[in-house]
Structure formats: C-alpha cells, structure tokens
C-alpha cells in the first residue's frame, strides 16, 4: 500500500536536494515549510511544536547520517513526508555522533497513530540499505529520490 502511495506521501514538492540550514531546529523548520508550502499544514506552529516535543523526548538522529523528525499532529489532514539533503551535515546529537545528511520529516494526522509508526518503521528499514543511502546522497533530481524510496520500501 505504501509503495503505491509514494507520490502522495512524498510528492516532488516536498523534496529539496540542498538548502537545509546547518542548525537542527532550523533544518526541521525548513522541512516543515516544504510541506506547508504545498498547502498541507493547517497550523504551522502546532506542527512545529509537536516535532520539537518529540525531539525533546529523544533525538530522531537515528545514526548512519540519517535524521527522521516526526510527529502526530492535527495540523495535517493526510500523512506527509518531506526529504532534504545537507552536504555539510547537521548535528542531530545522534548516538553515533554522525552528522545528519539525509533528512526525512514525517507528519501524520493525530488520529492515525498506527500509520505513523508504519511509515516510520518502513522508512527506517529502507534506509538500512547502504545502496539506498548512497543513491539518495548522489541523487540529481527529485524523481530519483522518489524512486529510491519507493523501491527500498518494497
């Protein structure tokens, strides 16, 4: 189900191959703004607060240069993922001290908790493949990012 829905979950408008600021909090805002600019966030402040609250519980810097800030929030009506890539790397306070280069933001409506965990775990499994990470680091266009995520989540 997820595999067929990548275009809805992670549309090209939510993909930035460069540009996130080097500061963690600002990078999360950058990702949020990709989704907000696509008219999917009804309350940007509430969405940002939910993301920060989750981040304060434990970092979403999961290691291997990957950050997956995520939250359940009533500020979105449909599950949405955004991707951004940082050449310089961002300090996410990850357990392995690796700077984060691949960033995925996940926002899921508050009432769809199961889907939230499902997207988070599928995406994490996909990113465990080294070839998927390498392809994302080298991707020249948004379509490559979508295809890589689609294939890796199969």
């Amino acid at each position: 189900m997820l595999e067929d829905d990548i275009d809805l979950l992670l549309p090209r408008a939510h993909i930035a191959l460069s540009g996130p600021p080097p500061d963690k909090q600002a990078a999360i805002e950058f990702l949020l703004d990709l989704v907000a600019a696509n008219d999917r966030v009804s309350d940007r402040g509430a969405a940002f607060d939910a993301l920060c609250e989750r981040e304060n519980v434990a970092t979403t810097g999961v290691g291997m240069g990957i950050g997956i800030p995520h939250a359940k929030t009533a500020a979105v009506a449909e599950p949405s993922v955004a991707f951004a890539r940082s050449r310089a790397g961002i300090d996410f306070d990850a357990a392995d001290d690796e700077p984060v280069r691949l960033l995925f933001l996940i926002l899921v409506p508050a009432v769809r908790a199961e889907e939230h965990l499902q997207i988070l775990s599928s995406l994490s499994r996909a990113l465990m493949h080294e070839d998927a990470r390498e392809t994302l680091l080298a991707a020249d266009d948004a379509e490559t990012v979508q295809n890589t995520v689609r294939e890796a989540m199969d």
Partner: protein, 89 residues
Amino acid sequence: MPERVVTVVPEDGLHARPASNFVETASEYDIEIQVGHVDGDLVNAASMLAITGLGVTSGEDVRLVAEGAEAEAALDELERILSTPEGEG
C-alpha cells in the same frame, strides 16, 4: 547463546525514550546484542535506525540474543528497560 523473550511494556513501544535508553544501554556493552520480533530477523540492538525499523509496539514480544562475557548482565538490563512502564525508568 543466551537469549530470552520479553514483552514490551512502555506505552510508546520500542520508540522514543525507551528506544533511546535501550540503544544506549546496548551500546555500553562491548559484545554483540541482537533484537527482533519473535518470528523475525534479528537486528543490531545498538542501532537506533535498526530498532526504529522493527516498529515494535507496546504489548508485543521481542527476542533478545547476546553473545559474550557479559551477555546475561546485558540481557538483564535490556529486559528491565523493556519491562518498565514509561516514566518509571
């Protein structure tokens, strides 16, 4: 090889703070520790990415396997984290 099956008690499942405590503890031991669903593949217990990929929810059973000098001690401590309700850890 020492192993055991543990029911995950925290409301968040193996996510957020419990997952963070779990990975941190597993990392402190200089031995190989693996975790997985009872009928599934095992992953590195010291990798947050791998743990997040398991998608373990509250009430589910997980299998813990460790090999090495302090295997039983490591499993004791990891079991304690998985068995402790949120906020009491």
